[in-house]
């Protein structure tokens, strides 16, 4: 099973929930940080990193001698990463999405694929769990291709087969967030019972619903705000999987960078129950699917 832990915005406790799930999961998991722009799961899980592999995207390199300025490449590139200015042909590597259309179409075979580094894939262990994270190169703007490479790494053997996977997804509802939850069997949304929490939860719910995955909610700092998030979940049929109370010992463990399920006994019990809830949710038809069938 693949579980993605997501939230409509940062700072809701998403990473704490991911790390806690990994630590109480009944069998060794693969914990994956797909928040490649700002990875921080490792700060809680303290993994021993044993491998670091660069990830690249292919970009065009043009042989000026062979190029006849026929414009086929610049016409096909949706991203304007190649331009022809009078007699000058120029590439804009940082705008290239690596689709390969240009070197496929070039009638003169003047284009060969070169590479641009997207970032690194780091992998190792944290206790019984395997740990994998993607880290975007500073200045790099495209995270989805690096995220795809991290997923490819997960499928490449490496002893990950047969393990359940817990994904710490990037916050938000944009392309990277969708990309991270796309392959999950269950999506866990982490939120807070505040007006902002409700707003971001509703956005995330809307963005992910078309994927047709079972979704449930974990409410963090459950006693700080109002009942609106609860009412919303009830109205829209979102299961509340767990409520993490706002409690001093939890806040302290969190502040020390500890995994709350490991540091606070009541939290271990709560997360063990959450694992059961997630497993129940897995295999239940999702709201979106029911709607489609109706």
């Amino acid at each position: 099973m693949i579980v993605a832990v997501a939230s409509g915005k940062g700072g809701t406790g998403k990473t704490t929930v991911s790390a806690s799930l990994a630590s109480v999961w009944p069998s060794p998991v693969v914990a994956v940080d797909l928040d490649v722009e700002e990875p921080n799961l490792h700060l809680f899980m303290n993994p021993d990193i044993s491998a670091q592999d660069p990830s690249y995207i292919e970009i065009p390199e043009i042989d000026d001698e062979k190029c006849t300025r026929c414009r086929a490449c610049t016409d096909i590139c949706q991203f304007k990463a190649i331009g022809i200015f009078g007699e000058v042909v120029m590439t804009f590597p940082e705008m290239c999405h690596g689709c390969g259309a240009c070197w496929t179409i070039c009638p003169e075979k003047a284009i060969t694929p070169g590479k641009r580094e997207l970032g690194q894939i780091l992998s190792g262990r944290s206790g019984p769990s395997a740990f994998v994270m993607g880290r975007l190169r500073v200045g790099e703007a495209m995270s989805p291709p690096l995220m795809r490479d991290v997923k490819r790494h997960l499928n490449s053997g490496n002893g990950y087969a047969d393990r359940d996977i817990i994904i710490d997804a990037p916050p938000g509802v944009s392309c990277p967030a969708i990309n991270a939850v796309m392959d999950a069997d269950v999506i866990v949304l982490v939120t807070e019972p505040t007006p902002f929490g409700l707003y971001d939860l509703a956005l995330a719910q809307q963005a992910f619903a078309p994927l047709g995955k079972p979704m449930g909610v974990v409410i963090n700092r459950a006693d700080i705000g109002t009942r609106d998030v609860y009412d919303h979940c009830q109205k829209t049929g979102l299961t509340i999987l767990a409520e993490i109370p706002y409690q001093r010992d939890i806040a302290e463990a969190y502040a020390k960078g500890q995994i709350i399920a490991a540091a606070v006994p009541s939290m271990r019990a709560l997360f063990e129950t959450l694992v059961g809830q997630i497993k129940t949710l897995h295999g239940q038809p999702s709201m979106a699917r029911e709607v489609k069938h109706a």
Binding site: K80, A81, G83, F85, G86, F92, M95
Partner: protein
């Protein structure tokens, strides 16, 4: 003399200079010796999510113009225009196309050696 391109809000010499280069409505290409001109539409660049400046630079380069008068040019388009050997006069806005050309001919338009567009997204 070399042809001059001016980013323009409309198809004639009395239209206003469009301050945006990449997303300009179009370009007026002027032969300064005869003051004959033609209008080239930039509509296809205007609707682009990214790369509008690069596409606009391609359009201008293809007209054979060697000088561009406009408001703001982003860094990538600047790089492209430079490589194509096109001289850029920036901050020529709040004028008509005709006035901009006259100013350039009088030597009153400083030639830019750096892009001036801030907050450029692509």
């Amino acid at each position: 003399m070399e042809k001059i391109a001016v980013s323009s809000e409309g198809p004639d010499m009395d239209a206003r200079v469009d301050p945006r280069f990449g997303r300009a409505a179009g370009f007026i290409i002027i032969d300064p010796d005869t003051m004959a001109f033609e209008y080239v539409d930039n509509g296809s660049s205007q609707v682009m999510a990214q790369g509008a400046g690069i596409q606009a630079a391609e359009i201008v380069a293809a007209t054979g113009a060697r000088v561009l008068l406009t408001g703001f040019v982003g860094p990538k388009a600047f790089q492209a225009l430079n490589a194509a050997g096109i001289t850029i006069g920036q901050n020529v806005d709040n004028l008509t196309v005709r006035e901009a050309v006259q100013r350039f001919q009088a030597g009153d338009v400083p030639v830019a050696d750096a892009p001036n567009s801030r907050g450029h997204r692509s």
